[in-house]
Subunit: 216 residues, 2 copies
């Protein structure tokens, strides 16, 4: 039952690589190649696949289309996932414009901000008043939100989102959110990610250890 965070991240990376390979006209792939392209060992690739019941051909490798389809199903990419952006400040509006989401077929359907001056659109996404977020989530049955509001209001806003029916939050506010057990929170703390890099750079200067390639 090892669908750990890391494992899911690897699936996402496989998917991305596979889509690129398909684009280039490839039809089949070996665990070897896929591993090399994603900085994962070939054994790990096969283990991941076998964990989710994806099988290949003993000598012929895996069929790319088949892999993509299976991974799409696992990741829930077969259904369209509506995502809202909560907070349309610097970070929020940059994220709303971020090409990487579109590329992965992620659909940001609306943005919300407390500042009434922030009306209009960002990257063709309508910015609404945050007061309307509860109703919007309810009516449109949105399950996933990106939270890019100031740390001071993040907890409060998250409670509104959860009460409206949000089941998963990608949180950019640097606070530990308290949410009900059933709600998934993935905290992306940009400062911490950078501090991590700084730590390892310093640690090496101080002559400790030799590791490489941290994170996904």
């Amino acid at each position: 039952m090892s669908e750990s965070r890391n494992c899911i991240q690897r699936l996402c990376r496989y998917r991305r690589t596979l889509k690129d390979l398909k684009e280039l006209g490839y039809v089949k792939i070996f665990s070897d190649n896929l591993g090399e392209a994603t900085a994962v060992t070939a054994v790990q690739v096969r283990k991941d696949f076998s964990l989710f019941g994806i099988s290949g051909n003993k000598k012929g490798g895996y069929i790319i289309d088949n892999l993509i389809e299976k991974i799409n199903y696992i990741l829930g990419k077969d259904e369209i996932q509506k995502v809202i952006m909560v907070g349309a400040g610097n970070l929020g509006s940059a994220l709303a414009r971020y090409r990487g989401f579109e590329k992965e077929d992620i659909n940001i359907v609306a943005a919300f901000d407390a500042d009434p001056a922030k009306q209009g659109k960002v990257n063709n996404i309508q910015i609404h008043n945050i007061k309307d977020v509860f109703e919007y989530v309810k009516i449109n049955k949105v399950k996933v939100a990106i939270l890019a509001v100031p740390a001071t209001v993040a907890q409060e806003v998250s409670e509104i989102l959860v009460s409206a029916g949000i089941k998963g939050i990608l949180n950019f506010a640097p606070v530990t959110l308290r949410v009900p057990e059933k709600v998934v929170v993935n905290n992306v703390s940009l400062a911490i990610e950078l501090e991590n890099v700084i730590y390892y750079v310093n640690a090496r200067h101080r002559g400790e250890k030799q590791k490489n390639e941290h994170g996904a």
Copy 2:
């Protein structure tokens, strides 16, 4: 020797909480309280501290100032770390404006972009032509870079950075960078982080497992 990625992330979170507590006038703290504030068990807190040789008082807990100082040293916060932003598009310029970095005493000293039209400043940070990045890094002995350039040029740019002396990269481009062993790369893939949330939301709908609080 368990200074794992997770462990360092926890140190960063402890530090943040401790600074907030200090601000509020607190002087001492128990592993209990600190754990609760950072969503970590008290045992884990003490284990982390003992790993780095930080000790408290058998009944009196830990002195906050002492903790902050020790953690600062471990994380390399005692020396000023110059960081450059490479790529000043949507994401790059939003990151340059991001308050969370300042709050953690992270100093973005310059930004670079390939588009000559992107002259001027963002958040009081000068945007230079990317052609000058090699020289800038050499002269100013910069060790850490944030990479927010398009995926297509990320590898190429990273090679320039490394050749100029960059030792750590926080990479926002959704590609697997190939860098020498001695260079630290921390990949932040925003799409993958969001896909992770979507996966767990779906997985629960499908009636699997009950986990909570993923990521840092």
